[in-house]
Subunit: 345 residues, 2 copies
Amino acid sequence: METMRWKEDGRLELLDQTGLPHEVVYLTCSSYQDVAGAIRRLAVRGAPAIGAAAAYGLVLAAEAIKEPAREDFLLRLQAAAGELAATRPTAVNLQWALDRLLQKLRSKPNEEVPALRAALLEEAHAVYREDVAGNVKIGNYGSELVPFGARILTHCNAGALATAGYGTALGVIRAAHGAGKQVIVYAGETRPLLQGTRLTAWELVQEGIPVTLITDNMAGYLMAREKVDLVLVGADRIAANGDVANKIGTYSLAVLAGKHGLPFYVAAPVSTVDLKLTSGAEIPIEERAPAEVTHLAGRALAPEGVRVWNPAFDVTPHRLVTAVITDRGVVYPPYRENLRKVAGK
Amino acid sequence: METMRWKEDGRLELLDQTGLPHEVVYLTCSSYQDVAGAIRRLAVRGAPAIGAAAAYGLVLAAEAIKEPAREDFLLRLQAAAGELAATRPTAVNLQWALDRLLQKLRSKPNEEVPALRAALLEEAHAVYREDVAGNVKIGNYGSELVPFGARILTHCNAGALATAGYGTALGVIRAAHGAGKQVIVYAGETRPLLQGTRLTAWELVQEGIPVTLITDNMAGYLMAREKVDLVLVGADRIAANGDVANKIGTYSLAVLAGKHGLPFYVAAPVSTVDLKLTSGAEIPIEERAPAEVTHLAGRALAPEGVRVWNPAFDVTPHRLVTAVITDRGVVYPPYRENLRKVAGK
């Protein structure tokens, strides 16, 4: 199942993840506004996947800008990039991919608009291809850390669906499974939007990797009952000191893993590392609509009049992170030094 | 809103909590089998509430037993009590209430069946009345522990709906609110059955006590953001050493509270203390149907083929419990000694 596919006729098809696992429908995006809308409503989600989708979104924006003059073209493209970047604040890959495309154009000061358009598409394809290749590397590096027969607890979906393909945390699981390690997976359902139930369980069932679903509040008791060997999650942004922003609930899992003496691994490409931020306190945390918590599939669960707090992410302090598995190797503490080595220019 | 009411015509009406907050419907129970069914499918839930409901269930059983001979009557009543007790294994109040009624009959060796029936009804009323009165005491003792303006995180529903009335954990919150302490409440939604969303939020909104709903996996981040002053939950069974069985997710909250230096209080009547069990390891933990996790309101959320682990409760070790607030006062460690003082014969 492809998360996204670029069509030769110059449109982007996105798998609408809001309908999974029951409906497999591809959305056709003909404009960058279509892509921005799809990111905003989580039709495409997962830090690397929204980076790649935004890259193609910028290609669509470039196609629609009719200015023949290079500078006017770039100005309008910059505005479209800003709009795409504003769709979701926490994952840095979105901004990273857009910056990378714009940087590519700056590196071609003598090219005119048609050539710039072609360069953008080429670079978007590169973002996409490199994400898949990077995830395979993450998988291989991470698989080394997974003992035979390991029982792995994961959260949200850091799978093929969260990336251009293969996945980060689920990439490690795929690689370990492929290496015959006979892993079994516990998937936290991941309220409010149930990415664990709808996406991770679905990916793993399809691959024939044994997966047991739990509600998020069962994780502690699962550990207390000694049913877990390690915790493995993705990331939306990693600060220079190793603090990790990831799906809400990750921090609780990290505390519980620490309490039970279990390794807590984060799998993410170096594009997720944001060396500009000295700590996780600087990572903007998106808060989403109350209806995600109070309603399910249009049906009200909660009484009228209740308030809701709905942060989509949380920040896990680096002290709770055993290692970060990147596409350039496994990074251990001290993170400030070692993340710079893999992610620095 | 009454959790249950005994009708003069000899039937029990139970508020069907599965329909809340949207449908307020009372079930009429004419037999002990009706009551057992209602307990099994969680129409009535909460340790003290199922104790009181089972007591009335035994009254209904007694009405239906036509044996005129005392011994035959008692044998058949014992069988009905066994059936009622088997509906749910974790909460001890169920067994406690049934034992209390049977004990009452044993204390009347010379009475014949009609008098025994009358004694049973009287004792069931006493269980009910004493539960409400006990909860008010819990509320008053607990309120002393609540600072002005406290932000209280609670889990599941330990409210009026979980008891004969007033509530245990929510009884403390009601008492603190009534004392003008201006508390605010965070209610964890409590997957899979959303008692926090459907019941606790509903009770508090009705009372005008400020309540903010969160998904269970937000609790850690809520604490990290310093938005909580204390955690307060109910209990389904407390072992002699102070280990607490309560709704799944309680253990995770206790670990998180400990990590953040927050008090973790358990509110429960002494009927919840089971001195026969030396530790929480002996408490039977009910596992419920996978469909509670994979489906919501009849709608499938998860893909076919996924396994599910669905324990309804977990056990929190006594070391994580700051105090147990009972109807006979606040109990602090060492629990083995101090619980025996309040709950011993």
